[in-house]
C-alpha cells in the first residue's frame, strides 16, 4: 500500500498526514471537522491525487437520503414503459441507477470516496449508512443482486457541525479536527498561492488578518479562502505596507456582513 505523503500545493500538518495513513491502514472512514475554509474537502482531492486514485464525490444536501447514495430504482420510468411497451420491463436492471456510494463500491479499482458535508442531511442519514460503510457491500433489493467492494474505498467524510452525528456512526470513524492555521502555517499556504509575494508585505497582511480574526464579536470570522482573495485584491490594487498600516482596504473581501465591516472599520 502506498503511503500518503501530501502534495506541494496543499500544506498539511504532520499530525493530519499520520491520521490519513492510519485511516487507510485501519480501513476506517476519516471524519474531518473544522472551521470553514480549512481545506476539509480539498484533502480528499489531495489524497486521490497523491495516491493516483479516482475521486468519487458525494455532495450531501438537506434532501439527500442514504439509499439514494447506493442506487435509485426508477419506478416511474418502468411504469411508463409498461404502459407503452417500449422496453422489456421484466428486466429490472435497466431501471436501477447507481448512486455515488454504489459506484464507489462497484468500482474495479480502489477509489477515494468523499462524503461532503454529511451534517447537511437529516439526522438519521449517517446511521442509515452504517452497514454499507462497515461491510462495504450492498444489496439491490429489486433485482436480488449483491455487491461487495473489491478494494475498500478510502472514505473521507466532512462535517461542519451543523448537526451532531450519531454515536454509533462516530465509533466507526477516525476523527480529526483541522485547526485554523496559525500564522507560520498560513504564511506557507499563502506562499504556495502567491510565490512572488514580497515577504514584508505578506507578514504585514497576515498581522492585520489575525488582528481582525481575533475580534470575537465578529459574526463570521474570515477564513483562509477569504485571506487569499484579500491578498489577490491587495496585489491587484498595488497597496503597499505603509498604506496597509494606516487603513484596511477591500474589507468587503474579508468580511461578509455589514455589521462586521462596521465593527472593524471604526478602528
Amino acid at each position: 500500500m502506498n503511503r500518503f505523503k501530501g502534495i506541494n500545493r496543499y500544506i498539511l500538518s504532520d499530525a493530519l498526514r499520520e491520521i490519513v495513513n492510519a485511516a487507510i491502514v485501519l480501513q476506517r472512514p476519516l471524519l474531518l471537522k473544522g472551521e470553514p475554509g480549512t481545506g476539509k474537502t480539498e484533502l480528499a482531492q489531495v489524497i486521490a491525487e497523491d495516491l493516483k486514485l479516482r475521486l468519487i464525490r458525494w455532495n450531501i444536501k438537506s434532501t439527500s437520503k442514504a439509499s439514494e447514495g447506493l442506487y435509485v430504482y426508477d419506478t416511474v420510468q418502468r411504469l411508463n414503459d409498461s404502459r407503452f411497451h417500449d422496453k422489456d420491463v421484466s428486466d429490472i436492471k435497466q431501471y436501477i441507477k447507481l448512486g455515488k456510494l454504489g459506484e464507489a463500491l462497484r468500482s474495479e479499482e480502489q477509489v477515494v470516496l468523499l462524503i461532503d458535508e454529511i451534517d447537511k442531511a437529516d439526522l438519521e442519514f449517517p446511521n442509515d449508512l452504517l452497514f454499507e460503510l462497515d461491510q462495504m457491500s450492498f444489496d439491490i433489493v429489486e433485482t436480488g443482486e449483491y455487491f461487495k467492494a473489491k478494494h475498500r474505498p478510502i472514505v473521507v467524510i466532512t462535517s461542519n457541525s451543523e448537526k451532531e452525528l450519531p454515536d454509533a456512526f462516530l465509533r466507526r470513524c477516525l476523527f480529526h479536527y483541522i485547526d485554523f492555521p496559525d500564522s507560520s502555517m498560513m504564511e506557507k499556504i499563502a506562499k504556495v498561492h502567491f510565490p512572488n509575494l514580497r515577504h514584508n508585505l505578506l507578514s504585514q497582511i497576515l498581522a492585520r488578518f489575525y488582528f481582525i480574526r481575533q475580534r470575537h464579536e465578529l459574526k463570521k470570522r474570515p477564513s483562509t479562502s477569504e485571506l487569499l482573495d484579500w491578498i489577490q485584491a491587495i496585489l491587484a490594487g498595488g497597496i503597499t505596507e505603509e498604506e496597509l498600516n494606516k487603513r484596511l482596504p477591500f474589507l468587503g473581501v474579508l468580511l461578509k456582513t455589514e455589521d462586521d465591516v462596521a465593527k472593524v472599520a471604526v478602528h
Binding site: E18, V25, D167, L174, F175
Partner: protein, 389 residues
Amino acid sequence: MFVNLFRALKRRGVPVTFNEWMVLQNALSENLADSSLTRFYYLARAILIKTEAHFDKYDQAFLDCFGHIDSDEDLIRTIEERLLKLPPLELSEEEKQMVEQLSLEEVRARFLEQLRNQDDELHVGGNKAIGVRGRSTHGAWGYNPAGVRIGQHEGRLRSAIQIAEQRSFKNYRDDVILDTRSIKTVLSYIRQVVREGPKDSLDVDGTIDATCRNAGELEFIWDRAKKKRIKLMLLMDAGGTMAPHTDLVSRLFSAAKDIVKDLQFYYFHNCVYQELYTDIWQMKAVSTRKVLDQTSRNYKVILVGDAYMAPSELLSPNGAIDYWYRNDRPGVEWLMDIRRRFRKVIWLNPEPEQWWPSVPSTRMIRNIFPMYELTLSGMRSGARALIKQ
C-alpha cells in the same frame, strides 16, 4: 496496553468504547504510532475521541497518564540547541566519498547506542559522537549520506506532552461554550416526523391501485414526503438579573429562529403574569391567557430564565417587581397554567446548577418544571425530556 489512558478518559466522562480501544490496539500493532509519543497522541485522539468538545478532557487524561515521561523529543531538542551554536562543515567531493557508508539499520542501532553513551560535552568534528561538522553518522549539518538527521526540519511533530499541556481545546468543551450552531444542533433533536411540503414522493401502492382501477391507464399517486419539524414556544426572561446572560439568550433565540419554522416567542420580566411581551423592551404586551388559549397543546415550551426572584414575586398577588404593575394572580399560578396547558415544558437556567438549591424561588420553580442548565449538555438533557412521549 495503556489501559490507564482508557480508564482516565472514562473517568472524565468521555464516551470511549471497548470497540474503539481494540481499534487502537490494532493500530499500535500495525506500528502506526512508530514508537513516538507525539504520533501516539494524535493517533489515539483520532481513534478514541469523536468531537472537539472532548479534546480538552483527552489532553488532561493524557497528561495524567504520560505527563511524567521525559520524551525523547525533549532530548532531541536539547541536542539540537547545542548543535545550533556551532558553524557548519564544508567538505570537498573527495572527502565526501571517504565518509563511511552504512545502511540505515546500522545507523539506527549506532544512533541509539550513541544516545545512551553520550555525555554532556559538545562534539565537534569527530567521527563517532553526536555533534556537528562531523563525519559520524549522527548529528546535524554534518555529512554522511546514510546518517540520521536530528531535528533540522521545520514543522516537526511537537512534543505530545507539550501539546497536551497547552490544552488549546479548552474552548471547545461542551459544558462551557454554547454558540448558535451548537444550539441549533440541540434544537434539531426535538423535531419530529410529519408529512409536509409538496406532494412529490411517489406512492407506488396507490399508483398501482389507481392504475388498475383505470383499466391500465397510468395514474400516478403522489404523497407528501416525511419531514421533521417542531413547534416551539420560547418564553424568555428579560429581567434585570438576566443582564449577564443576555448574549447567551439572544444566541439561543437566533438559533431557534433559524431552525424552527413554527416559533412563538415572548418575553417576561422575572416571572410570568397576566401579560407577555413580544419585544425585549417589554413595550408591546399581549394577554397571557390569550396566548395560552390560542397556542396548540402540541407546542413544546422552553422557558429561559434565572428563576432568581423574591419569593413574593412568585407567591403574592401584586408581587411583581415593577411597583406599578398590578397582578391579581400570583406568578406561581400562571406558571402552573403553562404547565397544565402544554404537554412538554422545560425551564432552562443560565445559572450553574449547584447554586439552584440555595435560591428559594429556583427551588419552587423547579418543582413546577423540569429545570436544566443552559449549557450544551443541559440543553441536550432538556431536549431529550421534550421528545419523550
